[in-house]
């Protein structure tokens, strides 16, 4: 389905995740963060950069991966994206929600 984000029509799924990463830019991320009541700071963006890197390398994202990222620890990740950090961060990053593994 389509959703209007930052004055642009963006393709999203039922849960609001972008289905086409090429439509993502920082403004979109900022808007999506606002919807989650998150104000993006430099630290937030560093976390998102790390997530994008993993996504581009097609490496699966996990809480364990964050621990090994060298960018931030899990405690900080939770404080940046309270509640469900992986779910919120991927939503803001414009990539699919991580599969909850099998």
């Amino acid at each position: 389905m389509k959703k209007l984000i930052a004055n642009r029509e963006i393709e999203v799924n039922e849960e609001g995740y972008l289905t086409n990463f090429s439509q993502w830019d920082k403004n979109i991320g900022e808007e999506l963060a606002k919807e989650q009541s998150i104000d993006m700071t430099d630290r937030h963006w560093e976390a998102i950069d790390f997530i994008h890197e993993k996504f581009k390398k097609e490496e699966p994202l996990s809480i364990r991966g964050i621990k090994k990222s060298g960018v931030l620890d899990i405690k900080e990740f939770y404080s940046l994206f309270p509640g469900g950090p992986l779910k919120k961060a991927t939503l803001i990053a414009g990539i699919p929600k991580p599969k909850s593994c099998i």
Binding site: S62, I63, R64, G65, K68, I74, K75, F77, Y78, P82, G83, G84, P85, K99, S100, C101, I102
Partner: protein, 414 residues
């Protein structure tokens, strides 16, 4: 003479030895299998051991008994795989050359990954049931436990047999009812996932079971530590869950051998081609079962399906033919629901667990996603099938390696 070496004589390794011994020409190929333990454990039985449903004798046997004649069996710890030299080093210093290597070293629990888990309360008020030692210690505990808060917990995904923790909670409900102390026991299921089941479809269809059995659910719980002094587990979002008895499934990891040999991922699993079972890094190394990083369930039934395809691919590799890209992630598993009933689910890489009947389309006898007594009998029969057919590599009638789409009601996974 060429060498085919199999690392690990668990479910997968033993199956491969049995398959290959009759297929590889004896004059050209020597098959060697290595395992650190003398005992072969029937791991699905670890679910039943804590409740005194199975005895210790029913879950362990001498491993060598299941290795066919003509296969060289070595009981020793494997120290290193030196891929540049095509060699395996054992703990004693023995060196084995290989032309083809099959890695079947499985996955194991790593309670040290979480602070406070493998601490002073380990096997006192904090238990696992994924190891023989843990299941047995828990059995002794449950024999005398008078009740309180029971927390059944999953540390992080993936874990082998992902439904086992839930089955544990169901069986605990039955067990305490039987003992007449269900009213004194509070059961909570704690998971890092969105819900109790790993596949959305199964979650939807099966949630009623939790309600029916009065099992509470805490979801999205990413454990940070076990606070064993105050009897609670704490997650990164500072949620706390109190327990009197904690039954946890620690982080599952492949053997440290993979890390030492530079062959594993973050969790020591081997990156493997999902349809052919060839390792991604070396064309003469194949991987099977829990040791792989495949997005399939880590289960004995999956290993059974993989073994048939891997056998075929080993033969093709030897003959220089292209490998068959056939493995579809097919898994089926019985889910014990307590009170003498069980469910059967069947799924693969692309299809969510489906409703229907198995293995005969539309007829059964085992029903998918519906609770029944026949399914429970199936789960119980699985132990016999395991020891007498599965690990010996005998084809199980009517059950095929890739998933049959007949008689099932599908919905494609996107």
């Amino acid at each position: 003479m060429k060498n085919l070496v199999i690392l690990g004589a668990g479910t997968s390794g033993t199956m491969m030895a049995n398959h290959l011994v009759s297929k590889l020409p004896k004059n050209d190929w020597k098959i060697t299998i290595i395992d650190q333990y003398k005992t072969h454990y029937y791991q699905p039985g670890f679910l039943f051991l804590p409740f005194d449903i199975y005895t210790t004798k029913q879950v362990k046997k001498n491993g060598e008994k299941f290795i066919p004649k003509g296969v060289n069996y070595i009981q020793e710890k494997i120290d290193l795989i030196v891929t540049d030299e095509n060699q395996v080093k054992l703990e004693s210093g023995t060196i084995l050359d290989y032309d083809i290597l099959i890695v079947a070293t499985g996955t194991k629990t790593a309670p040290d990954e979480i602070e406070g888990m493998n601490g002073p309360e380990w096997y006192k008020s904090v238990f696992d049931f994924y190891t023989y030692e843990g299941a047995k210690a828990l059995r002794n505990k449950l024999r005398e436990w008078k009740g309180g808060k029971l927390v059944v917990h999953i540390t992080e995904m993936p874990i082998k047999c992902p439904v086992a923790p839930l089955e544990f909670a169901f069986l605990a409900d039955s067990f305490f009812k039987h003992k007449g102390i269900r009213d004194k026991v509070d059961i909570t299921f704690v998971t890092p996932l969105d819900g109790a089941f790993t596949k959305p479809k199964a979650t939807k269809a099966l949630h009623y079971l939790l309600e029916e059995k009065n099992i509470k659910e805490v979801t999205n719980f990413n454990i940070e530590c076990v606070d064993y002094e105050n009897n609670k587990i704490i997650d990164y979002a500072d949620t706390e869950v109190e327990y009197d008895l904690l039954v946890t499934v620690p982080t599952n990891m492949g053997d440290a051998l993979m890390e030492r040999s530079g062959l594993g991922d973050d969790l020591n699993y081997i990156p493997t081609h999902k349809a052919t079972l060839q390792s991604k890094a070396h064309e003469n190394i194949f991987a099977i079962g829990d040791a792989t990083n495949l997005p399939a369930s880590k289960a004995g039934s999956v290993a059974h399906f993989e073994a048939e395809i891997l056998t075929e691919n080993i033969l093709r590799y030897i003959n220089g033919e292209p490998l068959k890209e056939e493995f579809d992630g097919h898994a089926n598993c019985f889910i014990e629901t307590g009170g003498g009933k069980a469910l059967l689910i069947d799924f693969n890489y692309n299809h969510e667990p489906v409703e229907g009947t198995f293995p005969f389309p539309g007829v059964g006898p085992l029903s998918l996603l519906k609770e029944s007594r026949t399914n429970h009998m199936g789960k119980m029969a699985f132990r016999w099938i395991y020891w007498n057919m599965l690990i010996k590599g005998i084809h199980i009638p009517f059950v095929s390696a890739t998933m049959s789409e007949k008689g099932k009601h599908f919905e494609e996974v996107k």
